[in-house]
Structures are given as C-alpha cells and as structure tokens.
C-alpha cells in the first residue's frame, strides 16, 4: 500500500497506483518481439524515397522523370504535376489547427535545402536511389534568407502563394505575432530600484534524434481499406489530415501505431504518411518509407532556434515589479507549430513569477529558408526558461543576493494565479488557472540541501585548472491543453473476470499503456495483471488527441478513471441482482464482488460468465471521455554542481539534482525514467548539441559523428526526487512529468558557470570553445 502524505497526514491510500508494476510491453520489448513499424514484411512491397532540394529557395521550372521511369522496377513518381494541391499544415494538432495552412504535398517551389521535390516508389531502395539520380530537375534559383531578423524586412518572400491561410504577414515572413501587455511595463521598469536593462539569449537548432527514425508502411486490406502503419505520436490527426489532402474517405483509412522507438515531438507531424498512402492508392501495392538518419536531421523537424530579449525590474527588497520578454523564433521554411511554440515560450514561463505588477510578452515566429522547426519536448518553454532563469540569476547577482532567495520571494504558490494564463493560450487566448497543488518551495529547499548549496555557492573552490560552481533553476509546465485535448476510453468485462481497456492514447515508449492500466486497476479494484490494453488504432480504439503537451497521464488518465468508475458501477449493479443485495453494500475486492455486511462474495469470473450465458445476458462495458478546463502545472527545482576547466573551457557536470512535484506518482520508475531522459536531453542541449549551417543553408553535421549527443560517460550522477502533492483535478491526484525536466539543465549550468567564474554564457550550446573564448576575454587568470 503506497501512501500520499500531506502535512504528515495520509490523504490517500492506493493498491496499484504508486507501485512499480511490470511495464505492460516490457517483456516483449526486451525479448525482441516484432513490435515496431518495420517488423513486418509484406509481399510486393514498394520502397519509397523523397528527392530533396539542393537549393535554399528556388522555383521548379521542370521535372523530367522519363529516364527514371525507364529503369526496371520503378513504379511511380509523385510530384506537383500529379498530386492534389491542398493547403494544409503538417502539424498533428487538434482541429482546427493553430498552425498555418502553408504546406502542399508537393509544390512548384522549394524553400530549403532538404525540401520535397518529388518522390519515387520502386521494387527496392537501390532501384529508387538510382531513379532519383536520373531525374532531371530544372530550377530557377531565388534569393534566400536564413536570418529571421533579415526575413522580417520582407526583401525575400518565402510564401507568396495565394492559396495558403493562417499566416500573420506573408510579406514580412511573419507566421505569428503576439503582443500581450499586462500593466505598464515601461513605467514599472523605470520605477524599479534594480534593473536588468536588456539581456539577449540565443538557443540553437537541435534535433530529437529518436533511435527509430520516421517510418511508415501502407497497404490495402481485403476490404479496400487503406492501412497506415506508422511511427507516429498522433494517429487520429494523421487519419484526419490524410483524408483531407488525399481526398480519400476517412472511413476507409485505418491508422495503426505499433511500438515506437522515441518521438519527443518530432512525430507529432505528418511527414511521410501522405506519400506512402498515395503511392499505395495509385499502385495498389504496399509501400514502405523510412527516413535515413541524415534525412531525419535535415528534412524532419527541429527545435526552434530563438533569440530572446529579457528586461527585469525589482524593488530594493527583491520583489519583481516587471518582466518584459520578447521572443523571436526561426521556424524555417514552414510554419508548423509556430504560433503555439511561440505562445508557449511565454505562457509556460511567465506565470512562474506571478507577483509582478506588469508583464509584457512580445513574440514573432518567422519563416526563413532553413530546415523546419516543429514540436520538441518542452515546446517553447525550454527556450523561454533558458532566458528567464538566466536573467533571474543576473538580477540576483546585480542585487548581491542569493538567487534562491530571489526566487523564493517571487515564485507562484498554491491558491494563486497569473493573468498570463488567461491572456496566452495555444496560439490564441488561454484560460484562467488557479494553482491547486504546488510543492515548489519544498522542492527548492530539498534540492538546496542535496546539492550542498551553502558549501559551494560563491566559494569558487579551485583545484588546479578546475573551478567549482553551483547553479539552479526552477520551472513549471502544463498537463495537457485545457479545453482542447480530449481522450476517450472504453472497457469491457470478459467471461474470465478480466477487463479489456481500449484507448486511443499513444504509448511512444513513455509507458502510458502501463500507467493507464494501473489507473483502471486502481479505480475498479481488480489486479493490474487482469487488464489487457489495446491502444492507438483509429478503427478499434476511441479518439485521443495523442502523445503531446504532457497530456496522457492527466487527460487520458482522466478518461480511464471515469470509465473505471462506470464499469465498476455496472459490475456491482449486475452483481446486486445476482446477490439480491443493495449495490451500496457491495465492493470489488480480490477478483470478486464482496458484500461488506455479510462477507458473501461472487467472483468476477462468475459474473462475466453469467452475464454472457445465463442471467440477464449483456456485455458489461463502459465508455467515457475526459476534457479539462485545467492544465495543472507540475513544478521542479534543478541544481547542478560543475567543474569548469579553465585551460580548455570544458564544463564538467559533477552532480545533478532534480526535485519534482508532479502530483501523485502512478509508476515511480517510469516517472523517474521520464525525468532522467529529459535531463539528459537537456544536458545535450546545454553543452554539445547543435546543428550547423553553411552560409547557403546546407546542414553541415547531419550525422551522429558530428552532431554530439552526450554518451553515458558524459552524464553526471543524476538524483531525481519527487515531492508528492495531490492535485484534485488529476486522476488519483496525478499531474504530468514528460516535458518539464528538459527546461532545467541549460539555465542551471549557465548559472553555475556564472557562480564559478562570473561569466554570462547567453548563447547555447556552452561548448568548450565558446567558454574558453569567454574566459580569455574576461581576463581571468588561467
């Protein structure tokens, strides 16, 4: 029995929730069962590949595929000449999507090096590659622009098509613009005793690097249904967008998501399913397309590179008066996720310091002729926190106070709200939120102790070429998108007394199948082992928006808890007739319905069996949906101890402490895995990962050789701690854990460097070369 203790009082007791039950798909995964998209082979399968643009910006004058079509085994070439021209967004978001409709399956224009020109399907990948080398494309090169500030001048227009929509200002390449003033920021800044006048922070393009790149296999079943087997986070959005852009009946499309080798947001996108599907429709043959690692880097999606301006004003006693934040996002050639990532860089960060008198958020997401940015774990908040949490340390430095004290004075607490919640939503206005659970203060205290803050802070302990520093950052995220994200769940009782659970939710390696079964088990009162989970099949499972926005535990969990309650009620009601007893005296316990007065019981197996064959026959089943006006934020405080090598500029993380309040924890090991995974990805973002472009926009390091992910020997000791709170709106008090922890490493390390040597590193990643240059410029004695 696990317990949630609040103020030394046990507030809830659970049977399954809070236990490290065996991961639902753990055994088949570790024994190598054929679970992934590519683990099937279909006879007569075609292989497909996209031919991409060698120019950053060009018009396609002519595509001559005649030589390619002469090669034996080449079956189909798709281009703008033979495909429907229907404007859409590739973003897998709720309908209507906040992203602009600026993308066509194939266009007469290419907008970055790596953009789609045409696609070839053939009997083998070698044949297809040869065919692509034989296709002659005549381009008319156009002037291009790579820098978003240049792009906003409008000298080069990247999207001049008449048939696109949802773009803020095509003539200045602005996808989305926002300006939210709350109170008088200029005046509050002027009146403030301490001011951070203007610090500018830069974040770099990085990729999600899932082990499994994008892959889809499409085919027709015996009834003429188009089956789309795909590595996606959003099967239902894929079905909807496919139907629209292929002009193919939705009824005849079935999207199946098998096990997934990582997503992190890059698979919240329709990237290859349209091409495979259209080739299957045209050739009637199965079609397989898998991106190579190089294609995954260049032609899928990235985290938005950004430039962020921050101004802060505070009283003598450290109370923040004003925050002024301006964000400029480089969206690359298409606007997918632009408006929402932009809004989230403010909406997920600014409420953290809710006591300000004035706050302003100005932002632009801008087109350039570079590879495309999209959704990435953290979704704008990661960029925003690097800037905001760095600026908070700059302010503490200026005031000469402990940065922890500055945060304690100003951070949001239980029962409070921020006007930002209402003003900034998903590319539009948001919804007022009150914080119903927060252990942020406690997270800070515990982390401070764990990292031995007092021992290291400000001491600049030097050991030869190494100087020690300690830094921290605090953060919050959300749990789903309020009044947008909806999930359905269905459950039925079998004649052996077990339950089947059907959910649209998309387990992309997160463990959502496991924790959703735990929630059903807890609610109904049957063992976890007695539940079988079917998920992510657009024909057989109910709708779910998908795996993004830290939503599944909270939103789908909410639906599963409801369905559990409903089927429990139905089982008890049926049993009450069998037992001739008032339902109020009956509970489900030990695989039986038990009369709490008499102790009489009847097994679930008997109930299942009799409901099928001999007494008031019916299928005992239930379905439910969940949508919430809330998105309770999880909170975290991160601390890092580093050594800075003055002779090389190398930052060596020694110890990392992340203290989380994610509500009640459903599965501690899976939650810890999410936290550690986020921190490792965040450390790479902070220290080594960066995609580099030539002056023409050629990506120079699209491989694991030159794009430096951290390896196991680069990772410091990571200590994740959970302070459980009970959020009254979440299933059994749960919030979310998928994204929040990616926001901490960059500002915490940056602040640790500030502590160690007094240098402000405002541009990511903090590579040895960059740090070394800063050390030389600062005149510190090496």
């Amino acid at each position: 029995m696990s317990k949630v203790i609040k103020e030394e009082k046990i507030i809830k007791e659970f049977n399954t929730v809070g236990k490290n039950v065996e991961k639902y798909d753990g055994l088949p995964l570790v024994t190598g069962q054929p679970l992934f998209t590519d683990d099937i082979f279909l006879p007569n399968m075609l292989y497909a590949k996209i031919m991409t643009s060698p120019y950053p910006h060009a018009e396609i004058v002519e595509i001559d595929e005649s030589e390619a079509l002469k090669i034996p085994g080449v079956r189909i070439v798709l281009s703008y000449k033979n495909t429907p021209r229907i404007a859409h967004t590739t973003a897998g978001q709720g309908y209507p999507e906040p992203s602009p409709y600026d993308h066509f399956m194939f266009d007469k224009k290419v907008r970055f090096i790596g953009d789609r020109v045409c696609a070839v399907g053939g009997d083998s990948i070698e044949i297809v590659e040869e065919a692509i080398s034989k296709i002659k494309v005549t381009y008319k090169e156009l002037p291009y622009v790579l820098d978003p500030e240049e792009a906003m001048k409008g000298e080069v227009i990247i999207h001049d098509e008449d048939d696109i929509s949802g773009v803020y200002d095509k003539n200045r390449n602005i996808i989305s613009h926002v300006e939210i003033p709350i109170g008088d920021v200029e005046n509050e800044l002027k009146e403030s005793f301490y001011k951070i006048e203007e610090e500018i922070y830069f974040t770099q393009p990085v990729q999600h690097t899932p082990i499994e790149t994008h892959i889809s296999i499409t085919y027709f079943d015996e009834y003429g249904n188009l089956i789309v087997r795909s590595s996606t986070q959003v099967p239902f959005h894929i079905r909807r967008i496919l139907s629209k852009i292929l002009e193919f009946p939705m009824k005849k499309i079935r999207v199946i998501k098998p096990r997934i080798g990582g997503g992190f947001g890059v698979k919240q996108e329709l990237l290859i399913e349209d091409i495979c599907s259209l080739m299957t429709i045209r050739t009637k043959r199965p079609v397989r397309m898998e991106l190579t690692r190089k294609e995954e880097f260049i032609s899928s999606r990235l985290r938005h590179p950004s430039k962020i301006w921050i101004r802060l004003g505070a009283d003598r006693d450290g109370k923040l008066n004003a925050i002024d934040m301006r964000v400029l996002l480089n969206n690359g050639a298409y606007g997918t996720h632009g408006p929402t990532v932009l809004f989230n860089s403010g909406s997920k960060t600014l409420p953290l310091y809710n006591k300000v008198k004035a706050v302003r958020f100005i932002g632009d997401a801008v087109y350039t002729n570079l590879p495309v940015s999209g959704a990435f774990r953290g979704y704008g908040a990661t960029n925003g926190y690097f800037a905001l949490e760095s600026a908070m340390d700059d302010l503490a430095n200026l005031m000469g106070i402990d940065p922890i004290e500055l945060r304690k004075i100003n951070h949001i607490s239980e029962g409070e709200t921020s006007p930002i919640f209402e003003k900034l939503g998903e590319g539009k206005e948001g919804i007022t939120q009150y914080i119903e659970s927060s252990a942020l203060s406690k997270c800070i205290e515990i982390g401070k102790k764990e990292i031995e803050w007092e021992k290291w802070r400000g001491k600049r302990v030097r050991n030869g070429n190494l100087v020690r520093g300690v830094g921290m950052a605090i953060m919050m995220q959300g749990s789903g998108i309020p009044l947008v994200d909806m999930a359905g769940a269905r459950a039925k009782l079998n004649d052996d007394g077990t339950l089947h659970l059907f959910i649209g939710a998309t387990d992309i390696g997160t463990g959502s199948d496991t924790i959703l079964a735990q929630i059903l088990s807890e609610e109904v009162g049957i063992p976890y082992e007695d539940i079988k989970v079917y998920s992510s099949d657009s024909d057989f499972t109910p709708f779910d928006t998908g795996a993004y926005a830290s939503s599944t535990t909270y939103v789908t969990g909410g639906a599963v808890k409801k369905v559990g309650n409903e089927i429990k009620r139905k089982i008890i009601s049926y049993a009450s007739k069998l037992m001739n007893e008032n339902p109020e005296n009956l509970i489900i316990k030990e695989r039986s319905v038990v009369n709490i007065i008499t102790g009489e019981k009847i097994s679930l197996r008997e109930i299942g069996e009799r409901s099928f064959y001999d007494f008031e026959q019916e299928q005992i089943e239930a379905s439910a949906s969940f949508i919430s006006p809330k998105s309770p934020p999880p909170f975290a405080a991160h601390f890092v101890l580093i050594d800075l090598d003055l002779e090389t500029g190398k930052i060596i993380p020694i110890k990392y402490v992340a203290v989380n309040d994610i509500g009640v924890i459903i599965h501690p090991n899976l939650a810890k895995g999410q936290a550690i995974g986020s921190i490792v990805q965040g450390l790479g973002f902070a220290l080594t990962e960066e995609l580099i472009y030539s002056k023409r926009g050629v990506m120079l390091n699209p491989s694991f050789l030159d794009y430096k992910l951290l390896t196991s020997v680069d990772i410091p000791e990571i200590n994740v701690k959970f302070i459980e709170t009970y959020d009254p709106t979440g299933p059994f008090g749960a919030k979310s854990v998928a994204e929040i922890n990616i926001n901490g490493p960059a500002p915490a390390i940056r602040n640790a460097v500030l502590d160690a040597v007094g240098i402000k590193l405002n541009s990511l990643p903090m590579t040895p070369e960059k740090v070394f240059k800063a050390i030389l410029n600062s005149g510190i004695k090496i």
């Binding site: 390896t711 020997v713 040895p768």
Partner: protein, 287 residues
C-alpha cells in the same frame, strides 16, 4: 552501397600479391570501423576489398628483447588488456582507451588507425613519443621506417601500392620514464579529437633528461613539438608561469584548420594548455 569485389586472404604473401595486382584500385579491410562506414556512404571508389583479418603474421603483441612488437591487426581492446604493454609501454594503452567506444575498440586495429593517417588518430601521438618504427612488407621485400618519415599529410603515407604495415616496434620503457596522454573532444567518448597532446619524459636527479611532446589534430599530420622539447630539456625548476610561457611556444609549431569540431584559433590557444596540463601531471609544478 556500390558493388565491389571481395577477397579474403589467408597469409601476408597472398595479400601482397593481390595488392600488387590491383595497384591503387583496392582497399584493405582490417577492423572495418572506418571502411564499412565509408562504403555505406559511397565514399570508396576502389573496386576491390582485400580482407586481411585472417592473416596470422599481423596478429599478436610480443616481447622481443628490449622491444615490443605490435601486429598491425591488434585491436585497441587487446592493447588495453595487454599486460606487456601496461608494463612496458603504458602511453599507447592510455591513448587506446580514448578511441571511439567499446564496440569500436573491439574491432578497430592499430594498423588501421595508423594507415588511415588522420591527424586525429588517437593512437598516433603516443607512437611519436615512443619513436616507433614501422615494419613494412611488399613484393620487393621488407623495410623498417621511422614514424617521423611515415606520414605525408591527411590520409597520406609513404606506403607503396603493394606494401602492408606488418608490425609496430616500440622500445620498452625504463624505470625513470613517465608519460601522459590528453585528448580534448566535444564529449568523453565517440569523439574525434579537437586537439590532443602526448608527453613522455625521462627524469634523472630531478631534472628533465629527455622529453618528447607530440600533438594531434592541430596540423596536417600528428607532429612533434621539438622547439618546446628543446627548451624543457635539462630543466630543473618547474614554476607555473614559466612553464606556461614555454608551452606558448607550441603555437609556432602547429598549423591547425577550422572545421565543425573547432576553430583554428581555439586549437592554437588550447594546444598550449593541453601541453601544460600534461606537464602538470608529470612534474611537480609550483605556483
């Protein structure tokens, strides 16, 4: 991947005869950690692959009087685990630990690392400090060359078309010899050096009797920093400021490039400190 002819040879003679036949139009396959990657990326234009993995004459680490002979097919894992090398030539052991990842160290060979002739080859700087000699064999017989005469530029060596590196010959360390290898990469494993430095010192009566300094990734080939060596030789007092000043001279001896891993300027500046840090680990530097 393009098509190629694959030959698996059983002995050195067969390998040499085949390479004589194909001339430039062939590549040797030893560990394959580099070749296979390039084959897959269509970067290999040669049409014949000669697999030399089974040639016994190229295997093994042997003590021969005051020398150690390392076969060119010896893998980095074998080097790391070799008691002979740990005892008599520990620098090459330390450098081998920095090669790639466990998988690469299990397959990659010292001969492959040398013959690829990358200025960033991790095993090469220690071999410069050891004054290694290379035993080569061709249809014209065998010859021994000094390491300093072997490399001609990035990817370029003096190897003739039908010539094979058979073994590497090192002198056993004496009691008063010490060494340190230092690699700076973008991360701690699976990384190509931004710069590396290697130092071997012979001390007597508290002074530097002899010193050899080599640097990787900062010139077209791995180089020796002989000017710095000359200044340090005979030194008795080790004051930090003075030593750093001496290390600064290394800038005159290197000629790095700018690439995605680091700029020329950074490589120049950091080389000085890599040399200093290696010295710092070997000498009792004060102040």
């Amino acid at each position: 991947m393009r098509e190629f002819e694959y030959y698996k040879v059983k002995n050195l003679k067969e390998a040499i005869n085949l390479s004589k036949k194909f001339g430039k139009n062939k590549r040797f396959l030893a560990g394959g950690t580099d070749l296979i990657v390039r084959l897959k990326d269509n970067l290999i234009k040669e049409e014949n692959i000669i697999d030399i993995k089974n040639i016994e004459e190229l295997k093994g680490i042997k003590e021969v009087e005051d020398e150690i002979h390392i076969g060119s097919l010896v893998t980095f894992s074998e080097i790391i685990e070799s008691d002979i090398l740990k005892k008599y030539s520990p620098l090459i052991v330390e450098a081998s630990k920095k090669v790639g990842s466990p998988q690469i160290r299990n397959k990659g060979t010292i001969g492959g690392n040398i013959c690829n002739a990358s200025p960033a080859g991790d095993s090469i700087p220690p071999l410069f400090c050891e004054d290694a000699k290379f035993f080569l064999e061709s249809t014209n017989g065998s010859r021994i060359v000094n390491i300093e005469d072997f490399f001609k530029g990035p990817g370029k060596t003096i190897l003739k078309e039908d010539e094979i590196l058979v073994k590497i010959i090192l002198k056993k360390w004496k009691e008063n010899e010490f060494g340190f290898f230092n690699k700076l990469g973008q991360r701690n494993a699976l990384t190509i050096a931004i710069a590396s430095s290697c130092i071997k010192i012979k001390k007597s009566d508290g002074k530097i009797e002899d010193i050899k300094i080599s640097l990787g990734s900062v010139s077209p080939t791995v180089i020796r920093a002989k000017k710095v060596e000359n200044i340090l030789r005979g030194l008795k007092e080790y004051k930090k400021d003075e030593i750093i000043k001496i290390c600064d001279e290394v800038k005159e001896e290197i000629d790095p490039i700018t690439d995605v891993r680091g700029s020329r300027e950074y490589r120049i500046e950091v080389s000085k400190y890599l040399v200093f840090e290696a010295l710092n680990n070997l000498l009792n530097i004060r102040g």
